[in-house]
């Protein structure tokens, strides 16, 4: 079915690939140096490490599995291999034949001592890819963290073009897009909800992660399915030679990461677990309070946990197998009971959500120039909220209602990396995903004593859909000054006897200007077949994933970006401008709610519209030395238009933010003491408020009386702004290295100058009883300590 629908396009792509193969067919005077770049001690693959030939001034970056392939003319060559945080390795090689060589880099130089090759592909002006940013995990861990709990997504929010949804939340709003437009990949598997604790923390445990990057535009053809960004997070593979453990105790949670060899240099594992313990700490206090008044008891509960695990097995010199798994769950609830003699009543309210992913990956080196990765994955997100009430009088009356929604994906994917020569790097592949959406069903159980018991399920049925795509891209040098990445991504969705397909051209160029400057430009068209329905006024996990259907057309966007970049000494500077047009955006209609009435379909509650986002981003980043960090500034606009919202007029997106500034600095005072600081400023969030009210009526059902009511008149959508947001966070870390391990004592202060930032607004009364509308903040200065031990 898929291939019959793709038939014409598939043939054209195959013909294109064949042509490319012929054009770049193996040069008989060229040989290939290939292998993996890895950590010399742990065997961890170093994705993005650069392998550079100093003679030919050609190089290549290792792919996400650490594999590199560099084809050069026969003869002797000087090769230099670099990676951030590792000592560069320089060696001479005689390429009279294809050579397979795994390159081991020694860590320990840290960022401050790294020597950067002048020719390194890591330099921003050398890369064709624009709008992509990576932050080393080592640097992330040294930044201030609320409650001592490092959060990867909160660090990403400090980058230009990436904004938070509100104080303390982990949601990402990238270049005017909404959170569902971000493809969050953990070991290549999409995660649908990344929130713990109602969004205050993300599900990504920094101790289990080895690499993180975000792409905001100029998307290469291998990516698709979302409009605004691609977030790639890779778990550690596990130490191949020794057992290591890393434990952290903070005021919010504790976590433990263990890794080591199963068979030395052959197979390894990594396990990481994290759990909050607020519930364990307050349970004795609540139990004591309940003992004092046993007739009325209240038991609140909240915790979250997550587990990361990975197995890594080198089956042979050309084959590797990876098994990754993640599970995270939040459980919030409150139970109360009242006893009055022989009568009693109980109430139990619960809200929980969980994520699970599993991935099995097989790497294969077919030849020195052809590498493949085959992946089978499963991803599950589930959200439940429910209430159970029991009344015991003469009869026992009980009522239970459970609302459930979720999404489950099964996916298969194959990707090829083909490096025909040093001037071309071709990637192509295919993906198929089966989605099952459960867009909100309510289970009702009733027992009224003398009436028949009811046990029924109400709400829309599950929706199944199949999504597939093919892609091909080639990064190549057209001249010494001009590098290009051209590609095409073709996707299709089949749902409810309807199919949507989309051909998405992708292009990026890098033109070297005089003076070492690089001019970059990109164009990307994207399509998205899954949608998140979310109430913009709430930060609750009431998110409802729904598919494009026969009635709901897919979201689509096109984005063009241009910029210049240059490295001044060890400081990278990049200035980019972008414009993004979006259509098929999905939103609740006015008055709609995720708690759909039982006879109303979710498709009746939504409306589709268009949007745009444009702006300029400046990033000045210092990656090396005793002092590292960056300054980011974003000037941006983001607007929406829906026929059924705001009377059809354009309005600013809720997270339209005109100015966004961040300063991030980390400094190593001595080998023992490290300090870091983060200051950020953002224009206040847009919001809609009721401005006035009036009275109206409708005739009642008989037509003889009238029903009068007072109606509030909202302002134009998002016409008001909250106060600007600004905050300073500080952190100081003392490190002690002992024979039996390394200890870190981390003291951090969130919101150091105690600026109460607005979190929400509500109608209130002043001292004279007159209505006023006030902004409220909930986060004052929050100090915290954490203790970390690793061996």
């Amino acid at each position: 079915m898929i291939f019959s629908l793709f038939k014409g396009m598939y043939k054209r792509l195959f013909f294109l690939f064949l042509t490319v193969q012929l054009l770049f067919s193996v040069n008989s005077f060229a040989q290939t140096l290939s292998g993996h770049v890895q950590d010399a001690v742990s065997g961890e693959q170093l994705l993005g490490a650069t392998v550079w030939c100093e003679d030919t001034k050609q190089g290549v970056a290792a792919n996400i599995y650490g594999f590199y392939s560099l084809t050069l003319p026969e003869g002797k060559h000087n090769i230099i291999v670099t990676y951030i945080g590792y000592t560069p390795q320089r060696f001479e090689i005689d390429l009279s034949m294809n050579i397979k060589m795994d390159i081991n880099l020694i860590a320990g130089t840290k960022l401050k001592e790294a020597v950067v090759s002048a020719e390194s592909l890591n330099k921003i002006e050398e890369q064709v890819q624009m709008s992509k940013m990576e932050i080393p995990i080592d640097q992330v861990k040294r930044l201030p963290a609320i409650g001592g709990e490092v959060d990867l997504l909160k660090v990403l929010q400090l980058l230009p073009g990436v904004q938070s949804g509100g104080e303390g939340t982990s949601g990402l709003y990238v270049r005017g897009g909404s959170p569902d437009q971000n493809l969050m990949l953990l070991d290549g598997v999409p995660l649908y909800s990344v929130n713990h604790l109602f969004g205050f923390f993300s599900v990504f445990n920094a101790d289990a992660v080895k690499n993180m990057s975000i792409t905001k535009g100029g998307f290469p053809a291998r990516f698709g399915g979302r409009l605004s960004s691609i977030l790639e997070i890779y778990m550690k593979d596990g130490h191949m030679k020794e057992y290591h453990a890393d434990a952290t105790v903070s005021i919010i949670a504790s976590k433990l990461t263990v890794e080591g060899p199963i068979v030395e240099d052959k197979a390894s594992f990594m396990l990481s677990a994290r759990r909050t313990y607020l519930d364990l700490l307050i349970n004795p206090i609540i139990a004591q309070a309940n003992r004092n008044n046993p007739d009325v008891t209240t038991d609140p509960r909240y915790y979250f946990y997550d587990l990361n695990g990975k197995l890594n097995w080198r089956i042979g010199p050309k084959d590797r197998l990876y098994l990754s798994a993640f599970k995270g769950e939040d459980d919030f609830g409150i139970a109360s009971a009242e006893n009055y003699g022989i009568n009693s009543s109980t109430l139990d309210f619960g809200l929980d959500w969980k994520n699970e992913i599993q991935a099995l990956r097989w790497n294969r080196e077919w030849s020195p120039r052809l590498f493949s990765n085959t992946t089978l994955t499963r991803s599950l997100y589930n959200f439940n909220t429910g209430i159970e009430i029991t009344e015991q009088f003469e009869d026992t009356l009980s009522m239970a209602a459970l609302y459930n929604s979720g999404i489950e994906d099964f996916s298969g994917r194959i990707d090829f990396d083909f490096a025909p020569n040093a001037r071309h790097y071709i990637k192509f592949g295919a993906n198929w995903t089966n989605h099952t959406f459960s867009p909100g069903a309510t289970s009702l159980e009733l027992d009224f004593g003398d009436t028949p018991a009811l046990d029924t399920l109400l709400g829309p049925a599950d929706i199944k859909s199949d999504e597939a795509f093919l892609y091909v891209e080639d990064e190549f040098e057209l001249s010494e000054r001009l590098k290009l990445n051209l590609g095409v991504h073709a996707s299709i969705l089949m749902v409810q006897d309807t199919s949507y397909n989309s051909i998405q051209p992708r292009a990026a160029l890098n033109y070297r200007l005089p003076g070492g400057y690089a001019f970059k430009a990109s164009f990307a068209r994207m399509a998205q077949y899954v949608n998140l329905l979310t109430n913009e006024g709430l930060g609750l996990p009431t998110d409802l994933w729904v598919p494009s259907t026969a009635r709901i057309r897919p979201q689509q966007s096109w984005q063009v970006a241009m910029g210049v970049s240059k490295t001044f000494g060890d400081i990278e500077v990049s200035l980019e401008g972008y414009y993004k047009g979006m259509e098929g955006l999905l939103s609740y209609k006015e008055g709609a709610s995720f708690l759909f009435s039982l006879d109303t379909d979710w498709e009746d509650q939504v409306t589709q519209g268009i949007g745009n986002a444009y702006g300029t981003e400046l990033l000045v980043q210092k990656k090396y030395g005793r002092t590292t960090g960056w300054i980011g500034y974003t000037l941006s606009w983001s607007n929406r238009q829906f026929d059924d919202i705001n009377s059809g007029n354009w309005y600013p997106f809720t997270y339209d933010r005109r100015h966004d500034v961040s300063f991030v600095v980390t400094h190593d005072f001595t080998d023992k003491w490290t300090g870091s600081a983060v200051w950020l400023y953002g224009t206040g969030r847009a919001l809609t408020l009721s401005e006035s009210s009036f009275s109206a009526y409708v005739p009642d059902g008989t037509g003889e009386e009238i029903y009068t009511f007072s109606a509030e008149v909202p302002s134009e959508k998002n016409a008001f702004r909250m106060s600007p947001y600004h905050r300073l966070d500080l952190s100081l870390t003392r490190t002690k290295i002992r024979e039996n391990g390394t200890r870190h004592l981390i003291f951090s202060v969130y919101n150091a100058y105690n600026n109460l930032n607005p979190f929400f607004a509500q109608t209130d009364e002043d001292d004279n009883g007159n209505p006023v509308i006030r902004e409220y903040g909930i986060f004052p200065i929050i100090p915290s300590i954490a203790w970390r031990f690793s061996f």
Binding site: F594, S710, V713, L756
Partner: protein, 310 residues
């Protein structure tokens, strides 16, 4: 190590203590509102068979005004056919119970052509609105007594009456109808007539039919949520079969079918959304529909057919 740890704990506790004061209050600041200029809000909903005209005229109020919207007296409300041929006028003498009410000698009547509402009140800019009365509904009804059973979440198995309705779908306009069914009850002993009582109607998975939450009727529309036009034939809905209670007997059924002007249909829809959303913490805010020139209220017309159900 020990000293560092104690120092860290002490510092953490001290800063936390200092922060408690602001945490307890939490107010960042009060949001400034532009000064509100009161405007007229007018609601006039009239049907061809009504024998009373009700006009509600209030002033808008800022949300920061504790008194809220207040009725405006001294207004002159005129309804004219076209722009000059005044048909009805309501004035200060008709101001009763915070609204203007004019009892008619006969019914309101059916008017062809555009009707115009003009409201003039001292201290306010005059407002106006236009509306056209829809054609009198042509109804074809099939009724099946105890024709179906269903499982209700609340009552278990329920026997229900089945109504199948055909309405005229005018190709050039958005047709909307408001439907009620009434049962006539008598006292079983004295045989005195107790009056008409509204019967609760229920839709079953027909996108053309939605529940009107304020009055309990059903709204039938030829446009579904995606804006696609549907026919208005074979409209099927249900009511729980009427059961005689102790001393009370149901002796007749009737269906009232009101054709709504498109503006009145939108007003009903937005009022329903607004009022039902007000109780739902998760609901998006609703903007009430208005066709009054000030932007507040509605002038809507309807025409009605009553079908006796055999």
């Amino acid at each position: 190590m020990k000293n560092n740890f104690i120092f860290s704990i002490a510092l953490t506790a001290a800063i936390g203590f200092v922060s408690c004061d602001r945490f307890a209050d939490g107010v960042v600041h009060e949001i400034e509102f532009p000064e509100h200029t009161p405007r007229l809000a007018v609601t006039v909903i009239a049907g061809d068979t009504d024998n009373q005209i009700v006009a509600q005229v209030t002033s808008t109020a800022s949300v920061l005004d504790a008194a809220g919207p207040l009725p405006v007296d001294g207004a002159v409300i005129s309804l004219s056919l076209g722009e000059e041929d005044i048909v009805y006028t309501l004035g200060e003498d008709d101001f009763v119970d915070f609204a203007y009410k004019l009892t008619l000698d006969d019914t309101f009547g059916h008017f062809d052509g555009m009707m115009t509402l003009n409201v003039d009140a001292p201290g306010f800019d005059p407002v106006t609105a236009s509306n056209m009365m829809p054609p009198i509904p042509e109804v074809s009804l099939t009724y099946e007594y105890r024709g179906d059973t269903t499982n209700s979440p609340w009552y278990g198995e329920v026997i229900q009456d089945v109504y199948t309705l055909d309405l005229v779908n005018h190709s050039d306009v958005d047709d909307s109808y408001l439907i009620y069914v009434d049962a006539l009850y008598i006292d079983a002993f004295t045989l005195d007539t107790l009056g008409w009582n509204q019967v609760w109607l229920r839709n079953q998975n027909d996108q053309r039919i939605t529940q009107e939450p304020i009055t309990g009727g059903l709204i039938v529309s030829d446009m579904n949520a995606s804006g696609w036009s549907n026919g208005l034939e074979d409209l099927t809905f249900f009511s729980k079969s009427t059961e005689d209670e102790k001393g009370v007997e149901s002796v007749a059924l009737r269906m009232r079918v009101k054709a709504l002007s498109p503006e009145l249909a939108k007003f009903y829809e937005s009022a329903g959304d607004y009022l039902s959303g007000g109780f739902d913490f998760f609901a998006e805010p609703t903007l009430m529909y208005s066709n009054i020139s000030s932007g507040f209220g509605c002038f809507g017309l309807s025409s009605q057919t009553i079908v006796d159900i055999e």
